[in-house]
């Protein structure tokens, strides 16, 4: 097993612990925005898509990569937008 993978596994575990601490404190009133916001964040796979699309593989790799780009960007942009719209409604 290479050291890179071990590093990534460490990041994975750390993120779970930190995430748990932060997310359990979110009040139920904000659960929908939390879900749609974190859903937008899960579009981080966009970064992987950019790297994949730009890596210069064969035709199949490029097509799949570009499709991934569209999916992920829609997820990111739309996700942050609807979360914004929802949160604006939460007035004092």
């Amino acid at each position: 097993m290479n050291p890179d993978f071990i590093m990534i596994l460490t990041v994975f575990v750390l993120a779970i612990f930190v995430g748990f601490e932060v997310i359990t404190k979110i009040p139920p009133i904000l659960h929908t925005p939390l879900m749609s916001g974190s859903n937008a964040i899960s579009g981080i796979t966009l970064v992987g898509a950019i790297v994949a699309a730009g890596a210069g593989g064969g035709v199949i790799a490029t097509v799949l990569g570009l499709l991934a780009l569209i999916f992920a960007t829609t997820n990111v942009v739309g996700g942050f937008l609807v979360t914004h719209r929802m949160l604006k409604k939460f007035k004092k």
Partner: protein, 655 residues
């Protein structure tokens, strides 16, 4: 390389801090902005690493446009399916990233790569198909009923085993056939998983799919060696998992039980009268529908309990109007919200917030439950299972042990549900038969509006009986009385709203008046001028936004011939668009713009701020006409006064 790692670490911290800010409604908006900004930095970093590729930028732009269009167009009520759709796209993207990586790496790549890539592909595809089907169900393009195939559980278990076997085979022999087979197997798995989920279980499933989309991103990050994907993906995975847990606990069912679906069997509630109320032996008065208004008038503390039925009936605006009317009389009004009410976690909060209810009034189950015993009236709007006292006693039923809102502990409960059929669980609601409960079956929107009108009418009677008090100025009083009298005599009324209504924020007051006039059998039309307001369609938007039905509107050319046989034209904050000069400036000059022929109505009632001309300049001769009554002042003040006088006059006429 260190710079990149540093930036990646900062981006991760940005996302974390963004989620941290979501712990309070006041800072949540900034949290979301911080998340979006972190994403932008992550994208720039990615392009910095690969170099800018034109095709990538183009596809990025396409995705952004699609995201903006969907994100802007969807209505708040469609949020569950929107979140499901985006979620599916995220999972699909992770699957595609894994597939791309597999297509590029040779068979020589280490087994860790193939294992993680295959898992990311499988989980991503499952998230994609499952979420899309869930979105279709929520949009009601596919039946919302759970579809359970013969041996459904066995099929799913078999598919999972086949999927795992295929991943193992791929590790042994790296041919393209295996990834394709893995994708197909997990795609079918996702469909079958979502297929047997019914409406009320959706909050659990959406949370689970949300979690899986994060896991897919995390695992694909392991495959392509990108710690950013893994860290942030894990964060989302945890968020979704926590929500799933919260939802399952609130339904008192295990995740496995939810996922395996269940058939609704009608179950009678255990025998009960008001005697078996949990934990208190207080005596309660027997109440009937006739007591409703008196109960509300005497109540000091009122709690609304909304359920998915409120969303179905689109009753949230009516609920807010009633809540406002009650609050205006100094009553304490809060909202008790069960975690699984609705179709996604926090669904009711979003709907109520959208209707303009302040978040400080929203209480989750834990906070509201101790308060019910000191509550005078609970108003249930489209909620059944989440208030069923049988949950504590009905052993062997699906809701046994489920934490519910203790609405039954209040002094009186008003249930505004569609019918007395049991909720999703199939267990009869024992609350309905208790003596301190008033049940009003029917469309919640209508029921609530009726209560509001009756309550206001009763309030009007009291005001009429009041001899002294903070009486409005004499001329104000006279104007309000004159207008109220004219409205009472009228049968056909056309309302003409203008930008002044928006400025005075009088739309809610106007809607209340319209609702009351209609409930008295009057025909009310809202006339629209295309130039009313500051943007095209401004005024209709404001009115539709607070729940005025579209079929009440009539446009310029259609409505103009109707003024002649209309009893009353009620102008609210509109000047130029009602100006007769606009149509005939005299001296043979061409008409500058078409106006509403308001002056042709038998009587015209004007509620504008003052008699000054509108922005176009010419004074409005309408104001000086014989059949016109004007009530100058802030419409948000004048309209409620008119409404009050109208109700007083109606109440006096009755007695």
């Amino acid at each position: 390389m260190y710079l990149e790692l540093l930036v990646a670490a900062l981006v991760t911290i940005g996302f974390l801090a963004g989620i941290r800010l979501m712990q309070s409604p006041e800072t949540a908006l900034w949290g979301n902005r911080l998340g979006a900004a972190s994403m932008a930095v992550a994208i720039v970093l990615a392009f910095h690493l690969t170099g800018i590729m034109l095709s990538a930028v183009v596809y990025l732009a396409i995705g952004a446009v699609v995201g903006i269009v969907i994100g802007r167009k969807v209505r708040m009520i469609q949020m569950p399916q929107t979140v499901a759709l985006f979620n599916g796209l995220g999972g699909g993207a992770s699957a595609l990233v894994a597939a791309t990586a597999m297509a590029m790496e040779g068979a020589a790549a280490p087994w860790v790569f193939w294992l993680t890539a295959a898992l990311a592909l499988g989980i991503g595809v499952l998230t994609f198909t499952g979420s899309i089907l869930a979105a279709l169900k929520l949009q009601a393009w596919v039946s919302q009923r759970p579809v359970i195939l013969k041996g459904h559980g066995a099929i799913l278990a078999a598919l999972l085993l086949i999927g795992i076997a295929l991943v193992a085979l791929l590790l042994v022999e790296r041919t393209p056939a295996y990834p394709i087979a893995i994708a197909v197997v997990f795609a079918v798995y996702g469909v079958l998983m979502a297929l047997r989920i019914g409406g009320a279980d959706m909050p659990v499933v959406i949370s689970l799919l949300n979690s899986l989309s994060g896991v897919a991103a995390a695992v694909s990050g392991m495959a392509v060696g990108n710690p950013l994907l893994t860290g942030v993906g894990a964060l989302v995975g945890v968020a979704g998992m926590i929500l799933t847990q919260v939802m399952c606990r609130a339904m008192n069912r295990s995740l496995a039980a939810v996922l395996s679906g269940f058939e609704v069997k009608p179950t009678p509630a255990p025998v009960s009268g008001s005697a078996d109320l949990p934990g208190d032996g207080r005596e309660r008065k027997r109440v009937s529908e006739d007591d409703l208004i008196t109960l509300l008038q005497q109540a000091k503390k009122i709690v609304f309990v909304p359920g998915y039925g409120m969303a179905l009936a689109q009753a949230q605006q009516s609920v807010r109007t009633l809540a406002n009317a009650l609050e205006r009389d100094g009553k304490e009004v809060t909202f008790g919200i069960h975690p699984v009410a609705g179709r996604m976690p926090g669904h009711m909060n979003v709907l109520l917030a959208e209707a303009g209810i302040k978040f400080r009034k929203l209480r989750d189950m834990r906070l509201i439950n101790p308060e019910f015993s000191e509550t005078d009236v609970v108003i249930v709007v489209g909620a059944c299972d989440v208030i069923n006292p049988a949950a504590a006693t009905a052993e062997g039923t699906p809701i046994y042990g489920m934490p519910v809102l203790h609405a039954a502990e209040a002094n009186a409960v008003v249930v505004c549900n569609l019918d007395e059929k049991p909720g999703y669980s199939g267990v009869e609601n024992s609350l309905y038969r208790q003596e301190h409960v008033i049940t009003l079956w029917g469309d919640a929107k209508e029921t609530i509006s009726r209560i509001t009108n009756d309550y206001r009418a009763a309030r009007g009677t009291i005001a009429a009986e009041r001899t002294a008090g903070e009486a409005p100025a004499a001329d104000e009083s006279a104007a309000a009385n004159a207008i109220a009298g004219a409205l009472r005599e009228a049968e056909r009324i056309i309302v003409v709203p203008g930008y002044g209504m928006a400025l005075a924020r009088a739309q809610e007051a106007l809607k209340t008046l319209i609702d009351i006039l209609e409930s008295h059998g009057k025909e009310v039309t809202v006339a629209l001028h295309p130039l009313a307001g500051r943007i095209l369609g401004h005024v209709p938007f404001l009115l539709v936004d607070i729940g005025v039905q579209l079929d009440k509107f009539d446009f310029l050319a259609n409505v103009n011939p109707r003024f002649a046989d209309t009893d009353v034209a009620l102008v609210v904050g509109a000047c130029d668009i009602t100006n007769p000069v606009a149509m005939d400036p005299g001296d043979g000059q061409p008409a500058p713009m078409p106006a509403l022929r308001v002056s042709e109505a038998k009587r015209v009632l004007v509620c504008n701020l003052n008699d000054r001309p509108g922005p176009s300049g010419p004074a409005n001769p309408l104001y000086a006409m014989q059949h016109v009554t004007a009530f100058w002042g802030d419409a948000a003040h004048t309209l409620p006064l008119i409404t009050e006088r109208y109700l007083e006059a109606s109440a006096t006429a009755k007695t």
